[in-house]
């Protein structure tokens, strides 16, 4: 365990340790920025919805947002969920990239498998019809679970 702790906690870390600290700091800034952006988007949606819906409870059909603001929010989600993660991929090392790709694979496989399974369960009267938000949650959950699994193994 001692090896996991940096040698010099003093004011003059060696060049390699200084670079590692910068990498860790950069990672935290990225995570903070992502969380801030998520909170901002969620806050704006909650504050500007004139309907009775809720994006986070799956009731998006009743969401009513100003058309221009809706475009801005869509752009925000494009940035937060596509562009930022893509840029993030260029900033991480090969191990982290492998872990992230495995997590994405887990999420993708979950959706590919979940939809027909859910449809069959619905056809047999065991569940409601497949729902876009439900599939989104399955993808997100499977991705998070896959990431944790891969992280714990390495």
């Amino acid at each position: 365990m001692m090896e996991t702790i940096m040698h010099s906690e003093g004011q003059n870390p060696s060049p390699g340790e200084a670079r590692t600290r910068r990498r860790i700091r950069k990672q935290w800034i990225y995570l903070g920025l992502a969380a801030l952006l998520g909170g901002l988007l969620g806050g704006v949606i909650a504050g500007s919805d004139s309907g009775g819906g809720s994006l986070f409870l799956g009731d998006y059909a009743d969401l009513r947002i100003d058309p221009v603001l809706a475009l801005v929010l869509a752009g925000g989600f494009l940035f937060a969920f596509v562009l930022l993660p893509l840029w993030g991929f260029t900033q991480i090392d090969e191990l982290q990239r492998e872990q992230n790709l495995l997590a994405f694979t887990g999420g993708c496989l979950a959706v590919l498998g979940c939809f027909p399974i859910w449809a069959m369960l619905h056809a047999g009267g065991h569940a409601g019809p497949p729902d876009a938000f439900g599939l989104y949650l399955v993808a997100f959950g499977a991705m998070a679970a896959s990431f944790l699994f891969v992280k714990l193994r390495s």
């Binding site: 090896e3 996991t4 702790i5 940096m6 040698h7 060696s14 060049p15 390699g16 340790e17 200084a18 670079r19 590692t20 600290r21 990498r23 991480i92 090392d93 090969e94 191990l95 982290q96 492998e98 193994r153 390495s154």
Partner: protein
Amino acid sequence: MKNRLKVLRAERDWSQAELAGRLDVSRQAVNAIETGKHDPSLPLAFRIARLFESRIEDIFDDGDHHA
């Protein structure tokens, strides 16, 4: 894949963080390579070999000694 990374690092009295910084990877990557849980890519293996002024096959052992 077995490797001598931990030994080489210890010889220089480097922490995992120090080696990670010199290789421009995360400390977790160094740990995963040392414990054999991650096989480095060829470019990273070359970077490691250059850093320790060794050949790749002197650091990494794939267990195939028939080649």
